[in-house]
Amino acid sequence: MSDFTDAALAVRRRDKRSGRPVSSMARREARWGYAFISPWIIGFVLFWAVPIGASLVFSALDFQLTDPGATSFAGGDNWQRALSDPDTWTSLAATFRFTVLFLPLSLVVALGLALLLNSKHLKFTGLFRLLFFMPSMIPLVAGVLIWQQVLNPQTGWVNRLIGLTGVDATGSDGIRWFDNPVLVLFAFSFIGLWGVGNAMIVNLAGLQGIPTELYEAAEIDGAGWWRRLRTVTLPLLSPIVFYNLVIGSVLVLQYFVVPWVLFGASGRPGGASKFLLVHFYQEAFVFGNMGYGAALAWLIFIVVAVLTGLLFGTARYWVHYGTER
């Protein structure tokens, strides 16, 4: 709206000097606009557009970091190798297993905590918000190292707490969180849930934005807590849940730091920590197979693009955008 006054001011100033028509004022504004965003345009070209294209070219080359002189055209070899490499399938399976477990879990926990913090019955809301958010601020590597000890089969508190219930968790056939390919996914999840704070805060802000009249109306209609949650809260919160879902899935498909700090590229236990990005990092930068690494990188790109595409495709069935802005 007020772009209009802007343009009008520009017109007046420009008019006095050159007397050129209004369209040149618009051109002047546009030039300033491009000038201001030019850092991003340059960065986008240098660090996104060109490298993405170059990655595609690299994926058709046999390019070893150790011997760049011997680079040759490889056609579809790297792609063929990517699809026949058992490690690729291991890493795809590991990534999807963890995504299927962790993504719903983190969404539910983030929503549950936000509902708790938004409850009118809760006292000391500010303090609890602080406590539940704080672990998100802990540097990830430090968090991983702490959890690694908390989940230690013999001396960690988790197993000792489980031991209190009578289950023999600390013994030789106790719960070995980091040696079992299924249990380790729960270990990853615990570590991941420490970072649930951002999604929680976003949910909380969304909840606070829901007009109270809607709840009052529902209450007059005799709707209980569960029914109000299903018919008022969740539909109105769905755009925010969708945002958390998209951001969360993009992040979890690129899961790297936790498995790398705990297990390096070993894939222990039983391939469960060989995530897509771990596989890519090992091939490209540990072994120096840049051509093959570029093919794997594009594979990751395709996986992320397909999944986010699917999510956006489902959005119209369950995400409610009340009023268009």
Binding site: S55, Q149, I201, W260, A284, M290
Partner: protein, 355 residues
């Protein structure tokens, strides 16, 4: 005092019900928070243990060590000694014997020694809480904490300056100027949030290697001069809320767009700029993948995340030192968060909800 109307039965019942609900909800939240933060408590307790206390599965939860007592120039162990009258006394062992031993009471050494019949080896040693503060000093020195901090701060603060300035400039362009393709370009900018950076890494690495930048901070710092989608989005949302009248007044006074931006917008947007700075600081402090990649082979200059992971690989038999180092690494970010949490929470809300 005003006379209160006698509350009806229903009102009393409702009040009681609300009180009960509040109690249960708050209690539940306390329990949840305790579980959620339990690892921190464990970390703190274990970081203060000595090496034996860490690896013993039956060790007490708190850092304890066996008590000793100095008596006539000798360091004596203290045991819980059951006396013939049924009382258990804490006594220091002066002279161990097979069937009878001599003890002294540490509380009252002047009273002389006590003879006790029985096998002293069957006695339980007395322990007391004894935090090993030295663990932190040892961890500090072993990981060379000051060096890690120095490099991390250098990296975080330099890139913070770069990304905040460049993102603010770009955000102003998107917020206040009309130009062909603006919506398309903004969409493209937002799409980079979803793009996996891995797909750009191989060529970037090859080029940085050619330029001799690998093993230095340049590949990490220079790209920050070109704005970042999250920061641009947050700042643009904020700039849109600044009233236009201020800028118009400046323009009538003859200020060009650059001057308007620096003199009017930047001071007005101070809260948003602070939020973006803080976000970036935490991001940089946490950054792992790219420092690992580009600084590989130059272990002396890695930032704290990578440094910690190297340390834990080498010292995996000394968990108390690893935990002490982890706590050292999280102290500064958590402290900053506690001071600035309001700015923080507001920033998250802007990026998440306003879309």
């Amino acid at each position: 005092m005003t006379t209160e109307a006698k509350p009806t039965d229903a009102a009393v019942r409702r009040r009681r019900r609300n009180l009960l609900l509040s109690g249960c909800t708050t209690l539940g939240a306390i329990l949840l928070a305790a579980i959620f933060l339990m690892p921190l408590g464990y970390g703190a307790a274990t970081a203060l243990k000595d090496k034996d206390g860490v690896s013993d599965p039956n060790a007490a939860i708190l850092p304890v060590t066996s008590l000793t007592f100095e008596y006539e120039g000798e360091e004596l162990d203290v045991y819980a000694v059951p006396m013939p009258d049924g009382e258990v006394r804490e006594l220091a062992l002066v002279q161990p014997g097979r069937e009878a031993s001599v003890f002294v009471d540490p509380e009252d050494p002047g009273a002389g020694t006590v003879e006790w019949e029985g096998r002293w080896r069957a006695l339980d040693p007395v322990t007391g809480v004894d935090p090993q503060w030295g663990n932190f000093e040892e961890a500090w020195n072993t990981i060379d904490f000051m060096r890690l901090m120095g490099w991390t701060l250098m990296y975080a603060l330099t890139t913070m300056l770069f990304t905040v300035v460049s993102s603010a400039v770009v955000a102003y362009g998107f917020a206040r100027f009309r130009f062909p393709g603006r919506n398309l370009l903004f969409g493209l900018l937002m799409a980079t949030i979803l793009l996996p950076p891995a797909v750009t890494l191989v060529p970037k690495y090859a080029v940085f290697l050619q330029m001799g930048w690998v093993g230095t901070y340049l590949p990490l710092i220079v790209p920050q001069l070109f704005a970042n989608a999250f920061n641009v989005f947050l700042l643009r949302q904020y700039f849109l809320t600044i009233p236009r009248e201020l800028e118009e007044a400046a323009r009538i006074d003859g200020a060009g767009p650059i001057r308007t931006f620096v003199r009017v917008i930047v001071p007005q947007a101070f809260p948003a700029l602070t939020a973006v700075s803080l976000f970036h600081f935490f991001y940089a402090w946490n950054d792992f993948f790219e420092p690992l990649l580009y600084l590989a082979g130059n272990r002396d200059i890695v930032p704290i995340g990578v440094g910690l992971s190297y340390f834990s690989g080498v010292y995996n038999s000394e968990p108390h030192l690893i935990l002490a180092a982890a706590l050292l690494a999280l102290a500064l970010p958590v402290a900053i968060f506690l001071v600035a949490q309001r700015v923080f929470v507001r920033g998250i809300v802007v990026t998440g909800v306003d879309k």
